[in-house]
Symmetry: D2
Subunit: 144 residues, 4 copies
């Protein structure tokens, strides 16, 4: 199994979730997450929001690094995630790739597999390019 590479440590919600980025390149991002009790919904299986969140992260990171440098920053606008197989434990592996890359919008897809290589969730994220220099929620956009 691949080891997390030397990508910067995750912060904020990504740190709380425990997502580890494995690969970050234009056109492909992969990540892993070790399932624990803090990912469960009341039936003791992984909460659907965990899958949505992983997918949101990898697609957003992927769209940002795929964007022409300096042209702006990426914000997700729609996340559509489907849950295929209930999971209680183990390591989840996710790979994200773009379906369409344009100057104003990108569409990315991510697939999450369990340790047996079974597809447990899959989703698509629509992302918009916000041109450089625009503000975001009242502040200059950028890493905080």
């Amino acid at each position: 199994m691949a080891e997390p590479d030397d990508n910067p440590p995750m912060q904020g919600f990504n740190a709380a979730l425990g997502i580890q980025l494995l690969k970050v390149e234009a056109g492909e991002v992969s990540a892993q997450l070790e399932v624990g009790p803090h990912h469960h919904q009341p039936w003791g299986i992984v909460h659907g929001g965990v899958y949505c969140s992983i997918i949101e992260t990898v697609c957003s990171v992927g769209a940002q690094v795929t964007l022409t440098p300096g042209s702006g920053f990426i914000v997700g606008v729609d996340n559509h995630t489907s849950f295929l197989k209930a999971t209680r434990s183990g390591t989840l592996r996710t790979v994200a790739r773009p379906l369409a890359v344009g100057g104003r919008t990108q569409l990315w897809e991510a697939n999450i597999e369990n340790e047996q290589g079974e597809l447990v969730a899959t989703g698509r994220v629509r992302l918009m390019v916000v041109p450089a220099g625009k503000t975001l929620a009242g502040e200059p956009a950028g890493v905080k």
Copy 2:
């Protein structure tokens, strides 16, 4: 602003997120979440996965309590959430109601507002009824 009622404390991922249920009734569920740095993505705004997760929780809880008691349990199968307004802080309020309630499937919608009453995210969750007695991820279904 309404205070959280005496619903049972959230556990697992719901506790990690900090969701507080305000109202749980057949046909309507509401909840609130106080935004903190652990909800942020790298630009310092609420991570899209947080909105998806809140929506997944309130729609699932709502579908479960709307189901005829004893007839089975609810699992979400698709979550489609749209992000309308970037948010940095404050209390988010969510209300969920059903669009369709059947014996095999339900469709719920949830809307998340900021403290100014602006819609910041909205989503729909498709849920399936798993008949009583069926297993879930290899174990009898039920609260763990």
Copy 3:
């Protein structure tokens, strides 16, 4: 029941479908469609694509007339439609309103009801603003 107003007759796919626009204003569009055998799938109920198509039309028309005149033209990028109640005949009425209107993207929602006022389908369309002067599929954009 409202009568179709004096909006221009529908052409192309909208004419083939038989959609009649009832109201076209910034912030609200309504339409009707008389169900016939040419809308059926093999079980003799309205084909899901008919609902998607109605929703695509009313949301796109609505987003276009809501856009600041001269600022560009609208193209839909994602359509997410849910089917709630099987229908065999009668007149379907649809109302569309925006959930978010921005300079680069809009999100619209449309609800389709049968003659009994029951919700039979509901959907959301994500739309992008293409700035004036850009080409579309190799030609200057505009009504053909």
Copy 4:
């Protein structure tokens, strides 16, 4: 290019659209459609509802033939289609395959390409299994 096989001629909305099924097997369905002016929206490009409709048809047909014979019939409940590239003319080819096949629900994905092999639209359809013997819109279910 493959020729339409000897599948039964399409009726109702499928005939109106002009969809030709090329292959119908458990686990894979393909189809083609020759674009004409009756598929256009006002800008002279293929209407988004046409893509949704093709995807609805191939996924529904696929789910039905993948279902254990005699166990029931398939109805679509959600269709989520993304539009990637505007198209004016030519033959569109579509292939659909399942992402998940269960006894109560299936999830299918379909991709539509133009004559250059470019992906122009892609979508996913959530389908439910209605057990044999149940009625549909007030009538026994089955081909009409």
